[in-house]
């Protein structure tokens, strides 16, 4: 157990808070101090408000002193990706378009974290409108990977993964549309969970691709991820796509759900393009489960090759429509150069959006256009169904799938200038979103050069308890989560 407060786990800190060995104000001060110390090198935050965080911490301490603590998250500083609305705080999506936008309302996850007593801490950097895999698409500058600040933290939730890895928060929330939680978690050596589509409300999450987006936690341990998931999951009447299901005690499930499990290894996920060191680490994880008595089966997801294409049709189509609202009329960036109403749209959007966002809006507009809809969007939806069926077919035989999270470890800032090469970073994570499944990335080693490696476990729909328990079993036997970057 590290002595530095800012590197400790929720489970550990909650116990210390309950035992009156620590106050939330002390913890929050430690996190603020750490943030101020490392932030010039990391740039995980778009903004933070230390006095607001300390006020929340003081309120938490008052509750605890009055015997009214609200559970494990009460008083724990949690950072939010800058696509999740918090009343009175900036909500920028790392875009010039929303540079000065302050949210007048709370996302449902924000409300739930407030109800759990968490100290909402800062606005975390990301790729603009969550579009990217390196956080280099932020209008406010890239985020550095705490393990090597010349490298990317992954994306799009790179601020969330980097802040956690660097000790600038005790847990964070991100959003995952094609891997945007799991990939940065893998690249920064933390746990990242994408819940089943519909488990966590999307109300108040800036939409990138509505049918794929899910909010999920970044945490130091699987147990911490289970704690945060328990706080944010659940049906929300403000989100029609949120699923009506009982939320189990995910934390308790870590010990009540026991193996041995049947794990599937999708052969398509170990093909060309996979870094050999990552392949070796994941092979060792497979060997671990086998040694624990788990049955390991090779499975096939035959439509894997179509995932990326399918994703970039559906995600961009939805995005082109979702981003229509950023027009400079009601809020957001408004061009002063416009001549008339139509020009106001054109100029405001030309000035407000970055190149990757524009690229995706153009692509999405194209695939929805009259005469192209059937060939692209409709066909992609059909392939999406086939991709989901691949997974459900595999799940007839296995409890979960084990794969690498990312084909490559953290790469250098600016290394992948070609958008297509960047899109390939998500080849192991995208299928999960298309199928609406839960998946978790857990640290599973380091490259020889000291960069973290993540393994991905993919679970059955709404079987997060099982998924977390499987990940927890691996984590308990490995020390990866005890390593911290030397900053």
């Amino acid at each position: 157990m590290p002595s530095a407060l800012h590197f400790r786990t929720i489970a550990d800190l909650a116990a210390a808070l309950d035992a009156k060995q620590l106050t939330s104000v002390e913890l929050t001060q430690a996190v603020i101090a750490r943030t101020q110390a490392v932030e010039p090198r990391i740039h995980a935050f778009n903004s933070f408000d230390a006095s607001d965080a300390l006020a929340q911490a003081a309120a938490s301490d008052a509750r605890r002193a009055a015997g009214q603590a609200r559970g494990a998250l009460d008083g724990i500083p949690i950072g939010l990706k800058d696509v999740i609305a918090v009343t009175g705080q900036p909500l920028t999506a790392s875009s010039k378009m929303l540079q000065n936008f302050v949210s007048p309302y709370d996302a449902t996850v924000t409300t739930k974290l407030k109800q759990a007593g968490a100290v909402l801490w800062g606005r975390l950097n990301c790729d603009e409108f969550a579009m990217g895999s390196s956080t280099e698409n932020s209008a406010f500058g890239p985020t550095g990977n705490p393990w090597d600040t010349t490298r990317v933290p992954g994306g799009s939730s790179g601020g969330s993964s980097a802040a956690l890895a660097a000790g600038e928060a005790i847990a964070t929330l991100g959003s995952d549309t094609g891997g945007s939680i799991r990939q940065p978690a893998a690249l920064c050596g933390v746990v990242g969970l994408k819940p089943s589509y519909g488990l966590v409300s999307r109300y108040g999450l800036i939409a990138f691709a509505s049918s794929l987006d899910q909010i999920g936690p970044f945490a130091r341990t699987v147990e911490d991820a289970a704690i945060v998931l328990g706080a944010i999951a659940g049906h929300d009447e403000r989100d029609s796509t949120s699923f009506k299901t009982e939320i189990p005690d995910y934390r308790a499930a870590l010990t009540t759900h026991r193996g041995p499990w049947k794990l599937g290894i999708p052969k398509e996920y170990f093909a060309d393009g996979l870094d050999p060191e990552i392949a070796a680490s994941v092979e060792q994880a497979i060997a671990f489960y086998k040694a624990q008595g788990c049955e390991i089966r090779e499975v096939s997801l035959p439509h894997t090759a179509y995932c990326l294409d399918t994703y970039y049709v559906i995600a961009t189509a939805e995005a082109s429509s979702n981003l229509g609202r950023y027009d400079g009329i009601r809020y957001g960036h408004r061009s002063t150069a416009a001549k008339d109403a139509v020009d106001l749209y054109a100029q405001s959007r030309a000035e407000g959006f970055g190149p990757e966002v524009k690229r995706r809006i153009i692509l999405g507009t194209y695939v929805l256009s009259s005469g192209y809809y059937d060939a692209y969007y409709l066909r992609a939806q059909k392939v999406r169904t086939l991709i989901r069926q691949d997974f459900l077919h595999a799940f007839r035989d296995v409890d979960a799938l084990l794969t690498p999270t990312s084909p490559v470890p953290a790469f250098k800032l600016g290394e992948k200038a070609d958008p297509l090469s960047l899109y390939l970073c998500d080849i192991y994570t995208i299928g999960v979103n298309l199928a609406g499944l839960p998946a978790i990335s857990v640290p599973c080693g380091f490259t020889k050069s000291g960069l973290p490696i993540g393994a991905q476990l993919i679970g059955q729909p709404f079987q997060e308890s099982n998924l977390l328990a499987i990940a927890h079993a691996y984590e308990q036997a490995h020390e990866w989560s005890g390593k911290y970057p030397a900053l």
Binding site: R202, Y203, A207, D239, D327, A341, Y373
Partner: protein, 506 residues
């Protein structure tokens, strides 16, 4: 382009032009937007309403703030299903939502949630009545087939100033039905009748108040012309902003004439959207077909499809009221009412219900008298006093009681009119008023009455002769002297009976 041989006689009677060149037939389809009367907006809990301070009926969903999501208002779905049932549409088993993408400042999301390829209501028809030969003669009835009815959300409102425009989003997100007819109408009169019928149906069903001034009912028309007898459709022009029911008639009339004039001049019609200005009675082109939007419809991923099961439909079917034309037919059959009464009574559901209550209370054979009192006296009284049926002191029981008093001969017609005015003022029952004001016919001594009648017959030889020769109304001339002798208070029924008995015995 020579369109027709002038030697072929015109067979059309529906064309709204009296020009001798009426060899063209107009083909009209209407797209009618009806705002649904719901407490809250279509996809959020904010209240729906009219006449509030600008931008007060808003929230993150209405303003399309980052991260806001729509949630379906089930009351709006109830309303459109009910509308579909009232108009005989097939109700789709699944209701799904699509996004219609276009940029305009009144559209907060820059897409409108609508229904594209799977509307909730398919088919159906609107029954219309065309003007009769006279006001009291029923006109021709027709059924205008519907293509579809779908549900969508309304947009905000732009208020243009001299140098800028302001947007009010109060209306944005109000549930809106679009009722699309087949291109099956052929005159402005039919379109007018169609719109009137839809309005009555929606008001009857409690679906909308259809106040055109408040934008609760809006109409666009697709108009083309073709030579009479042709079956193809001509080049269509969409006419927008027909924002009063008389503008609909005038605008369509104007457009038909404009199209005929273009063709007659040897010109070619272009497919376009035109804006009708009801004040000046002119129209101007808004955009041509080439400028048409590509709306990039796709299923809205934020909303789940809704299943409409038999139970749901049955519940709404049970709430469906009888529609005006059906009511009219029933009133004719059950109460033997003339068209002059039914054509007034059935268009206001409350008035029709009022009539039926009064007619039932009055008893068999008195419905027409009840109808006459309501149509001739009550409506005038309400208009004069700026009252409504609900606020009037005259209840159906008053009308029924008054009719019974007159029918029994207890009060005379001129006394009844006085009683009616007093009822309106006081709300007292007619019997009470008649007693208080001494308006009842006097209880007549049968012997005395017989004497007066014999005197009248004795002095009215001419009337007696006419009556005997078959002119029944001649008896009225004999009643005058009797009434005079009775100082106006004899029971007219008794007078009539006595005179007839005596005349028969002669």
């Amino acid at each position: 382009m020579k369109l027709c041989d002038p030697s072929v006689p015109s067979v059309t009677t529906t064309l709204a032009t009296s020009s001798p060149k009426s060899v063209y037939e107009a083909v009209i389809g209407l797209e009618v937007h009806v705002q649904i009367k719901t407490q809250s907006k279509m996809f959020t809990r904010v209240a729906a309403g009219y006449g509030h301070e600008p931008n007060t009926l808003t929230d993150p969903v209405v303003l399309a703030l980052p991260g806001a999501l729509p949630v379906m208002n089930k009351a709006a779905l109830d309303a459109i299903i009910k509308a579909g049932l009232l108009l005989g549409c097939e109700i789709a088993p699944v209701c799904k939502w699509d996004r219609k993408n276009y940029f305009y400042p009144d559209s907060p999301k820059n897409y409108q949630i609508s229904q594209y390829d799977q509307p909730i209501c398919v088919g159906g028809a609107v029954e219309i009545e065309l003007p009769g030969s006279a006001r009291n003669v029923m006109g021709e009835h027709k059924k205008i087939p519907l293509t579809r009815i779908h549900l969508e959300e309304d947009v905000g409102k732009l208020n243009h100033g001299a140098t800028d425009s302001l947007v009010d989003y109060n209306r944005a997100g109000t549930p809106l039905m679009e009722i699309v007819s087949d291109p099956a109408m052929h005159s402005a009169e039919e379109a007018y009748a169609y719109l009137s019928s839809i309005r009555a149906t929606m008001i009857y069903g409690g679906i909308s108040d259809c106040d055109m001034e408040k934008g609760q009912l809006r109409c666009d028309a697709n108009i083309s012309i073709r030579p009479v007898g042709a079956t193809h459709l001509g080049t269509k022009v969409e006419l927008k902003n027909l924002n009063s029911i008389s503008f609909v008639r005038d605008g369509i009339d104007h457009e038909i004439k404009r199209q005929i004039a273009v063709v007659e001049r040897g010109g070619t019609l272009v497919q376009e959207t035109r804006d009708y200005d009801g004040q000046t009675g002119t129209s101007q082109s808004l955009r041509s077909k080439e400028m048409a939007h590509d709306y990039r419809y796709f299923p809205d991923p934020d909303l789940m499809p809704v299943k409409v099961d038999a139970e749901w439909k049955a519940r709404l079917q049970a709430e469906c009221p009888e529609l005006p034309f059906a009511k009219q037919r029933r009133f004719v059959e059950r109460y033997q009412l003339p068209y002059s009464l039914t054509s007034v009574l059935v268009w206001d559901r409350a008035l029709a219900d009022y009539f039926e209550e009064a007619a039932t209370l009055a008893g068999p054979g008195k419905a027409q008298a009840v109808g006459n009192w309501i149509v001739n006296d009550l409506l005038r009284e309400l208009a004069a006093a700026h009252l409504t049926l609900a606020t009037s002191k005259i209840r159906p029981a008053h009308i029924a009681a008054l009719v019974q008093l007159v029918d029994a001969g207890t009060v005379l017609t001129h006394a009844a009119k006085e009683i009616f005015i007093e009822m309106a003022a006081t709300g007292d029952l007619p019997d009470v008023i008649a007693d208080r004001k001494g308006l009842k016919a006097a209880p007549t001594d049968p012997n005395e009455l017989e004497t007066w009648c014999r005197d009248s017959i004795a002095t009215g030889a001419k009337a007696v002769a006419e009556f005997k020769s078959g002119k029944d109304s001649a008896i009225n001339a004999l009643k005058g002297p009797v009434m005079k002798a009775a100082k106006g208070k004899a029971n007219p029924k008794l007078v009539d009976e006595t005179l007839r008995r005596l005349l028969a015995a002669m």
